[in-house]
């Protein structure tokens, strides 16, 4: 206490000579420093929310990729569905589909959770829609034709797969699935997830 009193005493004449308070320059400098700091914090928060969105996309991508691998795994060794072909760079018919995942009232008046995947068979292109209704019911519909356009709240994922025979060694097929999200690509973020498995062929080398 002693020191503070003596300190105040020393300051007293000075404060009376010049008007008390901070000068404009001091205030501006302080505000500038503060602003820089706040900007940093804001940028950090923005980045955190971006990262969390990105990780949500990635986990959905991983889920969709493993779903497709499991799906392809159910076919027998010589099945036509496992003919080599496809590609990861661009959509190849029969080897790609688009998944639209949504939840919310924009999709339907009831707030259904809808998932649409596409495919094609002897009857032409079709889309498969799985719908979970809040009233507890669920249904699945196969419709020939193009799927309905994605609504604003729908998240779309492009899924492509590549089937190579005698890769990485003779007698097996390598199946690679890539799931990409155009929305994440638009944000300049890492946007794809890729997964592979090998499956034995009915003969060596693969027919």
């Amino acid at each position: 206490m002693e020191t503070s009193i003596s300190h105040r005493r020393r300051r007293m004449p000075q404060s009376r000579a010049h008007e008390e308070g901070f000068t404009l320059v001091e205030t501006l400098v302080a505000m500038f420093i503060m602003a820089v700091g706040m900007l940093g914090v804001a940028a950090l928060m923005g980045q955190m929310s971006d990262t969390s969105v990105q990780s949500r996309y990635m986990s959905t991508e991983a889920l969709l990729a493993s779903e497709k691998l499991e799906d392809l795994n159910r076919y027998g060794l010589g099945d036509a569905a496992l003919t080599d072909g496809g590609g990861l760079g661009a959509d190849v018919p029969q080897f790609s589909d688009q998944i639209q995942v949504s939840s919310g009232k924009d999709v339907s008046a009831t707030g259904d959770i809808v998932e649409i995947s596409q495919g094609s068979d002897a009857g032409g292109n079709f889309f498969w829609q799985v719908r979970h209704n809040p009233n507890g019911t669920a249904d699945s519909t196969k419709t020939y034709g193009a799927p309905p356009a994605a609504t604003a709240d729908m998240v779309t994922f492009d899924r492509r797969w590549l089937i190579e025979k005698d890769q990485p060694v003779q007698g097996v097929r390598r199946i690679t699935v890539l799931v990409a999200s155009p929305a994440m690509q638009g944000l300049g973020r890492q946007q794809s997830f890729q997964m592979s498995m090998v499956k034995q062929c009915s003969a060596t080398p693969c027919p």
């Binding site: 206490m1 009193i5 105040r8 005493r9 007293m12 404060s15 008390e20 889920l63 493993s66 779903e67 499991e70 799906d71 795994n73 159910r74 076919y75 027998g76 060794l77 036509a80 569905a81 939840s103 919310g104 009232k105 707030g111 959770i113 998932e115 995947s117 495919g119 068979d121 498969w128 799985v130 979970h132 209704n133 809040p134 009233n135 507890g136 019911t137 669920a138 249904d139 699945s140 519909t141 196969k142 419709t143 020939y144 499956k199 034995q200």
Partner: protein, 373 residues
Amino acid sequence: MRNRSITLRKGKAGFSLLELMVAMAVFLVIGGAAVSLVSTHGKLSNQTQGQVNLTMGLRNAVAMMELDASNAGAGFFVTGSNPADWPIGITLVNQPPGAACNNAATFTFGANCFDTLNIITTDSTVGAVHPVADVNVHTATTVQVAPPLGTTATAFAALFKNGDELLWLKPGSPKSSLTTTTLTADGTVAGANVQLSFTSTDTAGINNSESYLITKGLGTDPGDSAPPLTTSFAAATDWILRLNAVQYSIDLTDPTNPKLMRKQGTQNLAAGKGDVVAEQIIGFRVGASIRHASIDQPYSFNVNGPTISSGCTQNCGYSGDWTEIRSVRVSLIGRTTPNQDGADQFRNSFDNGPYRIQGISVTINPRNLSMND
């Protein structure tokens, strides 16, 4: 400051009342803001924790089902048996599509909202045994089996309990045939053998007292050959296995908290038994991926619906023909505990409930059944 300098000059060190009040006012404002920030943060952190719990719970449940379902059909392939063109490893109960089953006012769901998934596996400790003599399970109610080498009849008899289900397998070409029976008593010792008493099947080989719908729910897709059921089993060539199936179903004892249960073995099927896998599950649906000849049907949530081979395009089913199931797709919808925080005005966009929801779906391929893959 001027005041203070005056008081200082008067020799009375300290703050004036005004200064103190200003300081206290500033402190109050800042302190109040801090407290409200902390309490908001507390709520947020609770919500995040609830959401994380929900995600983890759902992932756990899915991982467990993946493990179980990929082992469906374990133990079916005994020496000399040529399994059915596609053996039965998964049976399902689907609720009829379209019929609302919830109470939108109380955010509760009825039993009609949830499916049941049965994963058929056999008990590896028992293994496969031959009947001692030829037996017709439609007319007979008992069978004797010889304990495997190295096991006493007493020890072997103790493995069979009243209520257990037996799978009977008759190797054949191009298909094996099968049926099931339900034990009506514990296994007993009969000389060097073990005697098992069971409910007899009907003339077609359907066991009406079984719990897993293997024969009771088995149907035929039009255009398919008859289901692979039989009633007569030969001593030297045919097999008896003890089932140790796993059932996933929803327990609605507490309607405000539907629980996903895992029940292994017939002894655990009664209400209140089994293990809780996840709580607050408001959607549990199991779709089957069907293949009839070369026609694929990605998912079907309608076991008994019209088949795709009969021209169906919407909500198609497979007439309960378990042999057509290639893989299953499990959809789970979970929620955080409703109204945990009364002040939380959050309503989700799914069913407007006072809770957060999360869905997860996974396709599981029962690898044990893909013998040629």
